[in-house]
Symmetry: C2
């Protein structure tokens, strides 16, 4: 409880800092392997250089995601939590120290790819302006009901891997209804990150969010 | 740290209890939606009534999994952690009180389906004799390297959803090599839970494990 409270205070301070620096912060979360990195690679290739973007990616181990994200030309920093004991989420103090390594005067958007986990990251604010949760169509329609906090605190949801729908018994409308049950007002974007399908409304939403702040 | 230590002590005590009762305990873990429940439904249909089996399934919310598992005729109890604040893992004290609700004199095997999470459940022993981790071929080959503790502490691994391989760029050998890098000696079973393919070696391993104890 004390940890959550301390994090909340740091997150409030961090929000003020990002407001001063005129940086929009997006926290991207999902289960392991839902396609956060793939989605972000394709997103970065579309929004840059118009939106100057930096990325912080958190994992317990490896720099695999940072390596993939760096191919876009964006400024990317990898956080590995195994050196801290293998934390299952990113926290405000960590984002603060890492973000200050970027030249934030020259950044419009900071994207944080959180650790693959549908539980713990939802409980830790990191000074973000918005949160996007990614659900893969391979994970099952009931995930929003089984992990409600994650979906309740999101500002948008992405249903990824729609290219696999012909081979699954997945009911996309049911999944979207489950999201709406937990969080009625957020947009839900149906995409395939690998096939780069469905990106236009998602990019449109992201750009609108960024330019409404910076 | 104190929480982990207290759990470790309870787990040791619980292990002795299950030894007295002659019950084999299997802890099944994975990312959300990898197919634990589907795999267990098909597994239960095969091993019962020869192996008298009870199931404890943990989720933050819903009884969806217990409902599905109950269709097999097994004795199933659902734990919901949202009443405790939404824990991201099951703990020994919770398994102890729940397991005692079963008539353990008439049970050979207790299967625990843990909460969908590749991080936290690995850190909490629950008195089990063995752990099986399920990785879906849709999640990506590098998950064993990105979440090594989970794979390092497993006694077997299941690669699920092989029916989707024709539509993915997933390298099964690479995934298996990554598992072997983290944990060289465990068997890896390639299955499709929905199509019920590849189950024989998995069932064989499970039965051998159970009968070597009880
Ligand atoms: N078929 C299909 N596969 C996809 C899609 N998006 C991602 N994948 C695959 O899913 C796997 C995981 O993708 P990642 O982008 O690494 O997922 P992630 O959410 O970043 O994973 P973590 O950061 O480890 O939690 C990889 O094998 C991707 O190629 C998609 O739209 N369709
Ligand atoms: N194509 C395919 N889909 C599968 C397979 N196994 C499970 N699924 C689907 O994957 C989704 C999730 O399956 P579950 O069995 O609920 O997964 P789980 O690991 O128990 O999920 P949680 O308990 O919520 O973490 C469902 O839509 C299943 O139908 C498989 O072998 N092939
Ligand atoms: Mg990633
Ligand atoms: Mg399940």
């Amino acid at each position: 409880k004390r940890v959550l409270e301390a994090n909340e205070n740091e997150s409030e301070r961090l929000k003020k800092f990002f407001k001063e620096k005129n940086v929009f912060v997006l926290n991207v979360m999902s289960s392991p392997g839902s396609g956060k990195t793939e989605t972000l690679v394709k997103t970065l290739n579309r929004i840059m250089p118009k939106i100057r973007t930096a990325v912080i990616v958190g994992d317990i181990c490896t720099t695999n995601d940072a390596d993939r994200l760096q191919s876009t030309g964006a400024d990317v920093t990898q956080i590995n939590t195994d050196k801290f004991g293998g934390d299952c989420h990113l926290a405000a103090h960590l984002i603060e120290s890492t973000a200050k390594e970027f030249d934030l005067e020259r950044i419009d958007l900071l994207i944080v790819e959180n650790i693959g986990n549908l539980v713990c990251p939802a409980e830790f604010d990191i000074g973000e302006d918005a949160r996007t949760v990614v659900l893969s169509v391979t994970e099952g329609e009931d995930k929003p009901l089984k992990y409600p906090l994650m979906f309740r605190l999101a500002h948008s949801a992405i249903l990824n891997k729609i290219d696999l729908l012909p081979y699954l018994e997945f009911d996309v409308d049911e999944a979207e209804n489950n999201i709406k049950e937990v969080n009625p007002n957020i947009p839900v974007f149906r995409i395939s990150a690998t096939k780069e399908q469905g990106f236009d409304p998602w990019i449109e939403w992201l750009e609108k969010m960024v330019f409404s702040k910076i």
